[in-house]
């Protein structure tokens, strides 16, 4: 497992804070997930119920078992996990799949780094907490996906499925929407980033 230096934006004072990016979701990260994410998710869940928020407005990853995902991906070259730790807390996780290919007509059949699962810690999410601790976790993990894509010679091409409420975010990141994916009852939007879009996304 290797560690890389990244930065998160602390919302409270707008400063950049150094953080560690791990290229694996290790047992220590899963322990942090169980200790700190799950209880916070349960609290959020109880709050949603109390406020009678309709279920389709709840965070859609409440049921995700990261331990199951991470453990089943271990040892597989085609799946890569990432974890961000900052100030000794788990700030985000992502799982990539490297065995998928593009659906965009101009690059159809070419390999992409597909984001299977991506989530920021509950305290970093605007829909779960009034003042987030760190901003940018999602976008940073997307950049990581692009970096992996480049490293594998996929030229920065990535893909992911989005819930409609997050569509605007991915569009703002410069991704191309391929519309509602019929394979998922049309309820998820499929996005891809081309090599050119990736270069732009990574430009300083």
């Amino acid at each position: 497992m290797e560690v890389s230096k990244i930065h998160l934006r602390r919302v409270r004072d707008g400063t950049l804070v150094a953080a560690d990016l791990f290229d694996d979701i290790a047992d220590e990260h899963l322990a942090m997930w169980e200790r700190s994410w799950l209880p916070a998710m349960r609290v959020a869940l109880a709050d949603f119920r109390r406020r009678h928020v309709p279920r389709d407005r709840w965070p859609q990853d409440l049921h995700w078992n990261w331990r199951e995902k991470a453990v089943s991906a271990r040892g597989l070259l085609g799946q890569q996990g990432f974890a961000i730790v900052c100030e000794e807390r788990l700030q985000g996780m992502m799982q990539l799949n490297l065995t998928k290919t593009s659906r965009l007509p101009q690059q159809r059949g070419k390999e992409i780094a597909y984001i299977e699962f991506l989530a920021a810690a509950p305290w970093n999410r605007a829909e779960l907490i009034r003042e987030r601790e760190f901003a940018g976790v999602g976008k940073i993990l997307m950049r990581v996906a692009v970096e992996v894509s480049v490293a594998q010679e996929f030229k920065g091409r990535i893909g992911l499925h989005s819930l409609p409420q997050a569509d605007a975010f991915y569009e703002k990141c410069g991704m191309t929407s391929l519309g509602a994916d019929p394979r998922y009852e049309g309820r998820l939007t499929y996005f891809e980033m081309t090599a050119a879009q990736a270069v732009h996304f990574c430009t300083v």
Partner: protein, 80 residues
């Protein structure tokens, strides 16, 4: 500010191997390399990823199918 390709990340440690391929195999490798816009090494690495994943899923009791996009016809890929 000029757009440029992101810097390549540092690769993990590497071990080297020599591949002995037939003409037909090398041709196929070169064709895939061109089609996929990947180096021959990258093609082999991708093949390894897929092979490993298929193997694991087969062991888990799953079957691999091809499904025709329009006709929805399924053809099983037998891997034992």
């Amino acid at each position: 500010m000029k757009d440029r390709m992101p810097e390549l990340p540092t690769p993990p440690s590497r071990r080297t191997m020599t591949l002995n391929l037939t003409d037909a195999e090398m041709d196929a490798l070169e064709k895939l390399s061109a089609l996929k816009d990947l180096s021959k090494t990258a093609v082999i690495r991708q093949a390894l990823r897929l092979y490993q994943m298929i193997d694991k899923r087969s062991r888990d009791g799953q079957k691999l199918y091809f499904e025709h996009e329009s006709t929805r016809e399924k053809a099983e890929l037998m891997l034992l």
